[in-house]
Symmetry: C2
Subunit: 206 residues, 2 copies
């Protein structure tokens, strides 16, 4: 008997195996785990993902996930709609919201430009960002993308697309992580942290 | 907005998070992956697990997974039914089958004795192994469990349960892995490999 001999197991291993970072061994481990659970729990396990995919909606303004027309952030009147933070995906929205340091709104690109993987400007939500900047009263766009080549490329592309608008175009600070030992910081990060040094009084908690 | 604010996402993250070794961050990564897939693919993803759990059967003889009454191995007349290899779960059946070195049949315990996790002898399939040994013409039981304290405990327990039967009771060899450098082998393994040394001619491929 080979692992292929049981169609059901094989099908389930294949389904788990498509998840990012999951190989066949881990997938089989998941399958064995599910086989030990109660049928009703597995029923719920499977149907949750089906409901998720079918029922979830995206905010028509910022592309954040939302169960309504507008997401909770866009429809919150206490948020500053003149400042838009541009992020790659909703994970970044969660991460930034958890810092409690941002009271503006978001724009979720749904990806970043990555020529190696065939992802171009048309594959991410840039057009409706341009439309937003043209229609809404936006004063500042904060680019909060990963500090990678792909992230920098995307920032540059969006910068060019928005250069004719009268807005402030900023990116989040790159620097030595809080709590990090200086001697272990890489040279590029350390270089940028010197280049973009800030007045000490700005770092004091007000 | 917190990660909790969207019930559907939260439910899906919780479902993935129950899988062994999967934390909330990885679970969220899986959820984002599913959200990018076609609805029909996610439909298949979810329903595969529900079918798996509802339709899979276990071999009444060896507890291996099987879609029929008897599994493919137990119903294969070319296999030697006098030699039974006792394993923890079906993953081990796959692994041993892939070696092409075993032509006997299996007995799947479905776990090993682990007092720390509250798994006792009654929680694993020992009783029907004893029944099998009493009924079938079994000449040898090969214990193929992990080389851990739990594995050794389980081997000892089953050894005691079967000691009145006229059978050969063996365990798989412990020793230096093929391809491993001797200086990196741990002392216990090295010690066992010397203790259980074998005549050189037995290692030659016939």
């Amino acid at each position: 008997m080979d692992i292929n001999s049981n169609r059901l197991i094989e099908a389930a291993v294949t389904e788990f195996g498509q998840l990012p970072g999951i190989g066949r061994k881990t997938a089989l481990r998941f399958v064995l785990y599910l086989l030990k659970q109660k049928p009703e729990d597995v029923e719920q396990f499977g149907s949750t993902f089906i409901r998720l995919r079918n029922e979830i909606k995206y905010c028509i303004n910022c592309n954040n996930i939302s169960e309504k027309h507008l997401c909770e952030i866009c429809s919150n009147t206490k948020r500053d709609r003149t400042v838009v933070c541009v992020v790659e995906d909703i994970r970044d929205v969660f991460a930034i919201e958890n810092t409690n340091q941002f009271n503006g709104v978001y724009h979720v690109l749904g990806g970043i430009i990555n020529p190696m993987e065939g992802i171009g400007p048309k594959d991410i939500n840039v057009e409706n960002l341009v439309v937003r900047v043209g229609q809404d009263e936006i004063k500042e766009i904060i680019m909060a993308l990963s500090a990678t080549m792909e992230g920098d490329t995307t920032v540059f592309y969006i910068f060019k697309r928005l250069k004719d608008f009268d807005i402030k175009f900023t990116t989040i600070a790159r620097g030595v992580s809080v709590g990090d030992d200086l001697e272990y910081a890489d040279e590029v990060t350390l270089g940028r942290s010197i280049l973009h040094r800030i007045p000490y009084e700005n770092t004091l908690v007000k």
